[in-house]
Symmetry: C2
């Protein structure tokens, strides 16, 4: 590999400089992405190999990031499990028949990923070929808790009343659902690695809504179950949004890297997780809505807080926001790579 | 006062048992509240003294809570500052002319509370008379950051892009707005205390969206400014939602009591804040959507984690949710008072 900084940083090996990429780096802030999306629905883009490959590569060509993440959506395997999923980027996902009972859980399958989602692996194989070892290829999946939240709520949520209502009222049904989702995600990530992913990331957008105690009971065991089955052939990153109260538990997940939101600073996160994991993050994506000088300063502050030790990957604390000026995304990457 | 447990717990004085109340205890989960709201808009209810008094007293009569909070809305003083505010309980607040520039800030006044919001003080005086010393009367206001968020976003928000965009792009305009809001809130709370409030709480629903560093720069100084001006004649409670990363900073606010969400457990919060403040909270409101036995267990766990020392007020970690069964709200209060 020509530039393997990301893989080495994940393994806490020495690097010449900190690698940098951005969650949702293939996305609406790029005019080149919007041009492709103008003609086709979001889900069609996810399933059209040539176009998904193209938008995955855009941030590498335009910004020069140190890793390419495949373009996809975390709900693709939920559809493969047998739920009807409607994806519209603006409204967010809609699942018109949410899971509420054991019978609903029983109807879900644990799909063979290659059979049910062949396009995902075609995308990965094509990306590996196109990249030709330039930078590492990142695969990803949703963490069981977050997928479960979508499946039970039937979409996004404010208070997660349906999710937690089921969790507290009927914990066994909830655990049964989580097992099926975890096994689905493990197979899905293993197939991604076979198809060429050189790093994998689990996205847990909603686990931060749980108390530490509930996270330990209802979420962490299933994240562990995924990572256990996936094994350590490639580095595993765990992202949890709103995770200030969960860092010590996340460290027990089996991940080599914890990716954290912007709320806890990296020096504090390092203190709390010791030197047992690498850290990824964690500039507030809203910083990139401000002036360029502020972007550069935020990057420098973050690099300083990371302490210059091996085991840091510069990223945002959450996905890049659609109104972000491309110039600021460029400044973020350039500052991270010491070119600014 | 016949039952002054709440005031004593706020001051970390010995109590015979832990006092209990619930944020949003006057609200839609009560059929008696819905009956009154059926005929009148939300904002009219806030401004109609007799009805606001009635809904404030409902949870005391029905559940037997140890404190009565006046029924009102945190955006009432924002309207008094000169902004147009539309309040609908379901959609949430709408402010059609959000603050974006220094000229917008200049147009805002620092209103005389008694002149511009006389009904609030009539409500408090009537409540004191009706309660006749039965339990303490709680006044409240929105924290400057949260009011600023509504004023800049023009309503609720997902990512707080407008708020943080202004903060990072034009910090001086943001600070100027915060000063005006803080001075408004200080006058407002002082007038509430004069009208009979025996405890006051500042609600900061959105400050948890800020990193610890940004909270220290953009939010805490204005919460301190409010509490400094209010003084310590009655106990001051600071509630911040999503505050796991902010506890040490909140402790510097001047509040006698920190009210925290359900994410951090009380034993951990006690360790991090020492014995310098009382703690309020912190059962997940979603717990009250589950079975009654789970509600009782959650209360007992919370009391255990609080450690039996003086300086704990049992509450939820956020407002009670509209679909909560009244029986579960009763069980929460009864369990807290050792009647279950």
């Amino acid at each position: 590999m020509k530039n393997d900084l990301l893989v080495r940083a994940c393994r806490r090996q020495p690097v010449e400089r900190t690698p940098v990429w951005m969650m949702r780096q293939a996305g609406r802030y790029l005019p080149e992405y919007r041009a492709i999306r103008a003609d086709i629905p979001f889900l069609t883009l996810c399933k059209t190999v040539e176009l998904a490959v193209e938008v995955s590569l855009q941030p590498y060509r335009i910004l020069g990031v140190d890793g390419v993440i495949m373009f996809s959506d975390i709900l693709i395997p939920v559809e493969a499990m047998g739920m009807h999923v409607e994806l519209t980027e603006k409204i967010g996902p809609q699942l018109p028949q949410p899971i509420r009972t054991q019978a609903d859980v029983d109807r879900l399958g644990i799909p063979d990923p290659v059979e049910t989602m062949p396009f995902v692996f075609d995308i990965l194989r094509t990306l590996r070929r196109e990249l030709d070892g330039a930078v590492p290829l990142i695969g990803f999946a949703g963490a069981p808790l977050t997928l479960g939240a979508y499946m039970i709520e039937g979409g996004g949520s404010k208070n997660y009343m349906a999710l937690k209502g089921l969790m507290y009222r009927d914990p066994q049904v909830f655990h049964n659902l989580m097992e099926k989702v975890a096994d689905t995600q493990a197979l899905y990530l293993k197939a991604q690695i076979e198809a060429g992913a050189q790093v994998v990331q689990l996205f847990d957008s909603w686990a931060g809504e749980l108390s530490a105690r509930d996270y330990a009971e209802f979420a962490l065991p299933y994240t562990q179950r995924v990572f256990d089955q996936v094994g350590d052939t490639v580095p595993r990153i765990l992202y949890v949004n709103g995770s200030s109260h969960l860092l010590e538990l996340m460290e027990q997940s089996g991940a080599e890297v914890l990716s954290i939101d912007w709320c806890t600073d990296l020096a504090e996160a390092r203190r709390r997780t010791g030197n047992r994991v690498a850290l990824q993050g964690n500039v507030d994506p809203c910083r990139l809505l401000g002036p360029r000088a502020g972007v550069v300063k935020a990057v420098q502050d973050t690099l300083t807080l990371a302490g210059g030790e091996p085991g840091h990957i510069l990223n945002l604390g959450h996905g890049i926001l659609p109104p972000t000026p491309v110039e600021n995304a460029k400044a973020f990457v350039a500052a991270g790579q010491g070119r600014e």
